[in-house]
Structures are given as structure tokens and as C-alpha cells.
């Protein structure tokens, strides 16, 4: 049941990408980046824990990201306890259903850079474009004590 509107006084058109609703845009600026996530993660030794604290391996950390060329992950870590992160990604169909089970591992378990009370910035993917629909970003402490990792992820179109 598409939404329709009156175009050219007599023509009824479906609202679509090609025929958007006729609105007047004033003082608009292109916004190339969106804040997608701000989260605090208690980093422990649990395998498969994502930034939102979930250990459900099929659950994305971020969904509906297909419009983003790249994600930029900023973080502040409160400890230098040895930690690895892993980035998983996959595509969905237009309904949002993953094309299949499991994930494409785009960053294998890698040491998370930074000392105690330090900042970090990681681009996802590091080199190519993304445009994946779903991402799952996992962190796991491999030594030391639990600590808080505060993250912000920005999606760049």
C-alpha cells in the first residue's frame, strides 16, 4: 500500500525514491555522517560479548547500516588490560533478513590499541568500503581485570 500524492495537478504518483513527496527544503546542509551508537561496555573475559553486552552470536550490534560506506569507532578505555576486538559483518535482503546464518569476519581477533584512560579510533572496514547491513563488534579481555570501554560509532555515507 504505497503512499500516493498528486503530482502535476492531475497525476497520482506513488511516493518512491524517484518521486519523493514535493517538499521545500530550506537551509538544508548535507550531513555525511550519523552517530549510530554510544555505549559503555564492561569488558570481561567472556567470548563473543559485543559492545552492547550481548553474547548472542547472531545478534547484530548495529543493524540497517547499508547506507554507510564506513563506520568510525571511537572509544575511550579505562584500563590497559589486554583486550581483543573482532568485527563481523553481513548483508541482509530488503526485508532486513540476513542472507544466511553466521557472519563474514572482516577483522579477526586483534589487540585493541591503547593504554589506560586513552582514546582510540578504528575505521570499519579499515581499507575498503563497507555498505554491510549488519555489524557485530565484539570485545574480550585476555588479561588483567574488568574495565569499562566507552564507545561511539559514527556511520559515514
Amino acid at each position: 500500500m504505497p503512499v500516493r500524492f498528486l503530482r502535476n495537478a492531475s497525476e497520482l504518483a506513488d511516493v518512491s525514491w524517484e518521486t519523493p513527496l514535493p517538499v521545500q527544503v530550506a537551509n538544508a546542509k548535507p550531513v555525511p555522517a550519523d552517530t549510530l551508537l554510544v555505549a559503555t561496555t564492561s569488558v570481561d573475559t567472556t567470548a563473543n560479548r559485543d559492545l552492547l553486552g550481548s553474547t548472542s552470536t547472531e545478534l547484530p550490534t548495529l543493524d540497517a547500516c547499508g547506507q554507510y560506506r564506513k563506520l568510525v569507532w571511537f572509544y575511550f578505555r579505562t584500563s590497559d588490560a589486554a583486550t581483543t576486538y573482532r568485527v563481523l559483518a553481513r548483508a541482509t535482503d530488503h526485508n532486513g533478513a540476513p542472507l544466511g546464518a553466521g557472519w563474514q569476519e572482516i577483522v579477526p581477533a586483534t589487540p585493541l590499541p591503547g593504554a589506560a584512560n586513552s582514546w582510540g579510533r578504528i575505521e570499519i572496514p579499515a581499507t575498503t568500503d563497507g555498505y554491510y547491513d549488519q555489524y557485530r563488534i565484539e570485545v574480550q579481555r585476555t588479561a588483567g581485570s574488568n574495565y569499562n570501554l566507552i564507545s561511539k560509532i559514527v556511520g559515514v555515507r
Binding site: L37, S54, L59, T78, H94, G96
Partner: protein, 716 residues
């Protein structure tokens, strides 16, 4: 004039971003200032320069604000320095100076700095806490028992508080209240120096925040008991909130935590009342007031067995009827709307007599109980039409009987409705076409004869070849759940049942909203389908198809204008316990009563002596309401979400002969001789007291007001 406040903090690591989220939601501008240490020698870093805390420059800088808020607090009264720099501001009392809001202030006698002690106002009327003499300088509160963890960082559980009497307003309200605490984890209230207070209370003082024109004013005290059973009383010199000239001495308002805050990363902060109250006292007029509203799930539902209460279906229906009759009347009087998620699915997909349809029509339900269930339904329809009890679909049969939308790859044996667009015997797609191509890149003549255009979000595709992906004419088949065709069929089936029940729609009338079953809103294809059927938003968990666990709501909880409203539940028991056994009940299963569920038995000070000490029922009552109201305020002021209960699961502990009676300890008992308690009545009436206390910050509104406000403050 734009409302504007100044927040002073020592660092961002312990700075709770809820401060800012609340202010943004209220439309109050703010500026952050950083103190370089906790000592009187600290510098205050402001956007206009770095100032000494005692300097005229800083005083002049502060005068641009309506209020200055001290954000830092600590649970260790033995520190010698914490917010010592703020002592100078206690003497900035001219009419041009702003109000200063001290929440859970640190003014311990352990502070050794002479600059602090020499500048501490000699006429300040609250006794400074002394860690070496806690009993002589503070009052142990809320039973005086220690929490098993720092009570200042309490989240959605483990609350401490009191029924507080607000003197000027003459209103009693249950609010989470801790004035100070120490390493013993005991909440304390303050001791008043009555001689000093008497002097201040008789001294004239002119400042816009001195509403009685006096230099000193007791704002709030622990409310005296209403029943002789309740022996938890406080001396007459015990206070929980005080105004000293333009300085407000208020209880704890915000946990110190590094948690960032967004619409999905925010641990519940249940102390917010005092922030809102302080801002109002300080005369900070927010641009926006916040709408307060409540929702229920399953207005008609039941249990086959309700041991130890052993209620019949008839009794359960009667208690439900009484509650919704009350809620309808409350909504009429307060101009709010209590949203209700009707548990549909009984008409087509299950014979379980716990479902709305079956309670009305199944012959497995005794006729007299069915008759009352039908009265409840009629009440809901009337409430829906007049706007007091709007009802929407809430389907626990769509996804493998477990809950809401998209709870598995396939719903085996799905039975659909008849007629309409997606009902039997219409042969319609039940999965996406084998081929899906965007129309602007689709070559002419390629698409099959069965091609149709599907749009989900901003993606438009031409789908074709539904071989093996259509319903046929049957009414029962295995339904793949992760596609828009299934979503449309399921939602149309739910609305068809609502129409058959007598409702004019399935989306809470003009609110165009519902609370999804299990807070599972599915994913994009369900949100799109819901939009197509006229919905503006639904309540949803972040992991929005649990337990299938393949989807998340979008980051800002607003998908192409469709709202995914945060869920905050406050039943008296956990879901796995089924129904509540009491505020506390010695024989309860795990999490089967409110004290267990919300971790309110501090040092066993409720469970130990429950049957021998009648005051403990009152203690449990206070803590449950303090926690519930605190969590509800968090829902209202921070995440702009949906606070909800299941009226039927909380019913068992009500007295069937007087179901709406207000709590009265052991003086009003239920069928097993335990204290009667009506959750819906108590929550609404206590929140109403809070709304009356905060007329410039809160109002009884609707979910439409909530969604309007989300759009207002969320921006693009």
C-alpha cells in the same frame, strides 16, 4: 528568556550523561564547568575563562544562569576534600545570584581544610555529618540497614527511599531518597539544628526562589505514618530537603557513572525526582514539560492455577474488571490515556484460555467468568472510543508461540484469518520473490508475470517468481517470518481479530501505536508493514526479535519516521514466576514477589521478621513504590519510553472483596491473610502526587505526546 543552568563537575569519567539527556529533553540549555580538584584551591574552568572559586569573576559568571548544579557526590564521609571549592558559593545570596542546587552534598565534618571550615556559613542549619559520630549527626533511614552495594549507584533495582511529605505543597509522595551515605552503605537523612533553623525561618530574605520570603525553609521531611502498625518514624528534627537562602540542600539525584547515554545505553537512574524538583524550586522554567503515561499488556488474561490464592476464573476476571474501571476513571480525570496491548491470536491460532478471545468465547471458561470477561472487553471498547483506554494488537502467537514478531525463521502451522486482503482463500505471497531487482535497473521484459513492487524503507524492488513462496488457498501453512508479506498477513490477521472483538481499529485509535508482544517488533519488514497499516510507532526492545536474536532496532529508535519506543516494565514479579505472591511472601518462588524481584530486602530487613513485625509490610510497600516511581520517572524523563505493567499478574494479592482499597498494611488483608495491595491504583496515585508536585515539569499525557516530544527533541 531561555532556561539555562550551569553544571559543575570534577571530571568526565564519573560524569553521568543522564544529567544532559534530561536537560535536553526538557529544552534547558546548559554549560559544563570543570573543577580542577576538590579543594578550595581548585580552579573552575568555564567557557569564558578559568576562575578562582571564590572570585567575583566567577560569581559574575554564574549570574547569567538560572541555577548552578553541583554534580559530584560520594558515599564516603571520611574524605577530607571533595567539593570543598563550593563552600564560597553558599554565601553568594544576593538577589542577582542564581539558585545553587546541591544534590547529596558533601559537607562532612571530616573536611579539614580551614578555608572550607572558616567559610562554611555559621548559621547553616543542617548538622554536618561526622563519620566518627554518624548516629549523632545523621539519621539512619529506611530501616537503617545497609544495602549490599553502594546505594548511590542503584539502578532499576535495590531502591531506598521514603514516603516524603512536601510541606509547602502538603503532598505525600514515595520517592527514592538518600541524603547522604557512607562506606557502610546505609542511607541517611539529615539532622536539623532547630535553633539555627528557627532564626532563619523568622528572618526575611528576598530572592526569587524564596517563595515564603524567609531565609530558611524546610522543604521536605519523612512523612508521618498513616497506620499505627508503621513504627518506622523519624524525629521532628529530621529533614530530607532544605532551602538555605538561595541554596537548595537536596537528596541524591544522580549516580556517578561513566555510562554514556543514548536512547539505548542508559542504566536506569531512579533518583531523578530530586533533579526535577530542584530545578523547579530554582525557578528554571523548561521549554517543554514531559508527558507521563502508563501502559498495560494483556488487559484480559488469566491463570489456570493461582496457588496459594486459588482464585477461580470468575474472581480473576472480577479483579481485572475493577482495575480497568478504575484506570478508565483515572484517565478521564487526569486527561491521560492508558494504552493496552490486547493479547490477540486466540481467534485463529491458539485455543489457550489465557487469550483475550478465548476468555470471552471458549466454553472451557466457566460461563459466569466469560460474562465478566465480556464486560471487561466492553469496558475496553468504550475506553478505546472515548480515548481513556486505547487498545492495540499484542500477538504472542505470531512467532512460534513465544512472543511477538519474527521470533524464528518459520512459524510452523500458522493459521490466518479469512477474507480481507491477506486472508484465506486468497493466494498471496508469504515470502519474498525468488528474484528481486530495483526498478531503475530492471531490464524490460525480464520480470515474471507475477511481479509486484515492494518497498521497505527507502529500498524499492520488483519481486517475482513466488513459486513455492505463496500461501495457496489454505488457511494454515508454515509461514516464513522474515519478510514483508508475512508481516502484512500477520498484522492484518491481528487487526481482523480486533475488529471482531468490537474495536474500531487495532492501533490505539488516533495514537496509532501499540505495545508489541514480548517487546519484539521484528525488524524493517514489520516496521514497514505496520506503517502501511497506519501505525506511527510501537514499543520495542533493542534486540527486537528475541529470542531469535538476529535483529536490532535502528540506532536512534526512529526508522523512517516510525517510533521504536523503549520498554520499561514494572510488574511485581518476574515473568518466569507467572503472577505475584505479594509485596513479600515467605513461600514465594524465586522472583515471585516484589521484594525479591526488585532486590529490596536489604540485609534481610524485610524477610526477617515479616510475620512478627507488621512494620515490615510498610517498609516493603514504601520501597516498591519508590523503586516503581523512580523507574517510571526515568522512562519519562530520559528515554521517553513506555512504562508498563500486566494488571492481571499483579492481581492475586488484592482483596477480592475490596480490590481497589489503598494499601493499609495488615489492616487490609487478601485471601491468604497477607497485606492487600493494588498495583495499578498505587502506581497511578503515587505518580499523580509526583505530577502534582512538578506542575512545571510533568503533565499527564499520552503516547502521542511522547512520540511528538521524541520528534521535537531528537531532531533529524
Amino acid at each position: 528568556m531561555r532556561p539555562k543552568v550551569c553544571l559543575v563537575l570534577s571530571n568526565f569519567i564519573g560524569f553521568n550523561r543522564v544529567w544532559l539527556q534530561v536537560l535536553r529533553n526538557l529544552g534547558i540549555d546548559y554549560t559544563l564547568c570543570i573543577a580542577t580538584s576538590g579543594a578550595t584551591s581548585a580552579n573552575i574552568q568555564t567557557p569564558q575563562g578559568v576562575f578562582s572559586p571564590s572570585s567575583p569573576d566567577l560569581r559574575g559568571y554564574f549570574r547569567q544562569f538560572d541555577a548552578v548544579i553541583l554534580c559530584d557526590n560520594v558515599g564516603d564521609l571520611a574524605l577530607t576534600s571533595f567539593i570543598n571549592y563550593s563552600v564560597f558559593w553558599m554565601s553568594w545570596n544576593a538577589p542577582e545570584d542564581p539558585a545553587f542546587l546541591f544534590f547529596n552534598p558533601y559537607f562532612s565534618a571530616a573536611i579539614t581544610e580551614s578555608a572550607y571550615n572558616n567559610n562554611f556559613p555559621s548559621d547553616f542549619p543542617i548538622v554536618r555529618p561526622n563519620p566518627s559520630d554518624l548516629a549523632g549527626t545523621l539519621y539512619a533511614a529506611d530501616g537503617g540497614s545497609p544495602s549490599s552495594f553502594n546505594p548511590l549507584v542503584v539502578s532499576s533495582v535495590g531502591g531506598r527511599g521514603a514516603c516524603v511529605l512536601f510541606l509547602a505543597e502538603n503532598i505525600r509522595a514515595h520517592v527514592m531518597t538518600i541524603c547522604n551515605t557512607h562506606t557502610d552503605n546505609i542511607p541517611y537523612y539529615w539532622r536539623l539544628d532547630t535553633a539555627k533553623h528557627s532564626t532563619l525561618a523568622s528572618a526575611t530574605y528576598t530572592h526569587r526562589v524564596a517563595r515564603n520570603g524567609r531565609a530558611g525553609e524546610i522543604l521536605a521531611v519523612p512523612a508521618p505514618p498513616t497506620n499505627a502498625e508503621d513504627t518506622e518514624t523519624y524525629p521532628t528534627d529530621c529533614v530530607v530537603a532544605y532551602r538555605y537562602r538561595n541554596i537548595f540542600w537536596l537528596p541524591h539525584a544522580m549516580a556517578r557513572t561513566p555510562h554514556s547515554v543514548s536512547f539505548w545505553d542508559s542504566p536506569v537512574n531512579s533518583f531523578l525526582f530530586w533533579l526535577l524538583y530542584g530545578l523547579q524550586l530554582a525557578g528554571v522554567r523548561p521549554r517543554y514539560r514531559l508527558p507521563v503515561q502508563m501502559e498495560t499488556d494483556h488487559p484480559l488474561d488469566s491463570f489456570a492455577s493461582t496457588a496459594p490464592f486459588n482464585f477461580s476464573y470468575l474472581q480473576q476476571m472480577q479483579m481485572i474488571l475493577a482495575q480497568f474501571d478504575y484506570m478508565r476513571d483515572f484517565a478521564r480525570r487526569k486527561n491521560t490515556a492508558v494504552i493496552n496491548g490486547v493479547r490477540v491470536g486466540g481467534r485463529h491460532r491458539t485455543t489457550s484460555i489465557t487469550f483475550h478471545w478465548n476468555l470471552m468465547y471458549s466454553t472451557s471458561v466457566p460461563a459466569e467468568a466469560r460474562a465478566v470477561a465480556q464486560q471487561v472487553n466492553q469496558l475496553l471498547i468504550a475506553g478505546h472510543r472515548e480515548g481513556t483506554l486505547p487498545c492495540g494488537v499484542h500477538d504472542h502467537t505470531a512467532g512460534n508461540y513465544q512472543g511477538g514478531y519474527w521470533l524464528g525463521d518459520v512459524r510452523a502451522g500458522f493459521r490466518r484469518h479469512s477474507g480481507m486482503r491477506y486472508g484465506a482463500p486468497n493466494n498471496v505471497p508469504i515470502n519474498r520473490g525468488r528474484c528481486c531487482v530495483a526498478p531503475h535497473v530492471l531490464p524490460a521484459g525480464v520480470a515474471g508475470a507475477d511481479a509486484q513492487t515492494v518497498q521497505v524503507g527507502d529500498t524499492e524492488l520488483v519481486e517475482w517468481d513466488f513459486t513455492g513462496r505463496a500461501s495457496g488457498t489454505s488457511d494454515t501453512f508454515d509461514l516464513p517470518l522474515g519478510n514483508i508479506h508475512a508481516a502484512r498477513m500477520i498484522i492484518e490477521s491481528e487487526i481482523e481479530e480486533m475488529l471482531a472483538l468490537g474495536f474500531p481499529d487495532g492501533y490505539c485509535a488516533g495514537h496509532k501505536y501499540t505495545n508489541t508482544a514480548a517487546n519484539a517488533s521484528g525488524g524493517e519488514c514489520y516496521w514497514q508493514a505496520l506503517k502501511e497499516f497506519g501505525f506511527r510507532g510501537v514499543r520495542s526492545a533493542s534486540a527486537c526479535n528475541t529470542p531469535h536474536q538476529t535483529k536490532r532496532v535502528v540506532a536512534n529508535r526512529l526508522w523512517y519516521g516510525f517510533h521504536l519506543v523503549t520498554d520499561i516494565e514494572f510488574d511485581l514479579q518476574a515473568a518466569e514466576a507467572g503472577y505475584t505472591r505479594g509485596l513479600y511472601y515467605p513461600g514465594s518462588p524465586p522472583q515471585g514477589d516484589a521484594v525479591r524481584r526488585w532486590q529490596l530486602d536489604h540485609g534481610n530487613d524485610i524477610s526477617s521478621g515479616w510475620t512478627s513485625n507488621p512494620a515490615l509490610a510498610w517498609r516493603a510497600y514504601r520501597r516498591v513504590l519508590c523503586q516503581g516511581i523512580g523507574n517510571w520517572l526515568f522512562t519519562t524523563a530520559v528515554v521517553l519510553g513506555g512504562f508498563y505493567i500486566h494488571a492481571y499478574t499483579n492481581s492475586m494479592i488484592m482483596s477480592p472483596s475490596d480490590p481497589l482499597a489503598r494499601f493499609d498494611g495488615w489492616s487490609k488483608q487478601n485471601v491468604i491473610g497477607e497485606p492487600h495491595y493494588c498495583h495499578s491504583v498505587e502506581l497511578l496515585e503515587n505518580m499523580d502526587a509526583v505530577v502534582q508536585l512538578l506542575p512545571e515539569y510533568l503533565y499527564w499525557g499520552t503516547i502521542t505526546d511522547v512520540m511528538d516530544h521524541r520528534e521535537r527533541v531528537m531532531g533529524g
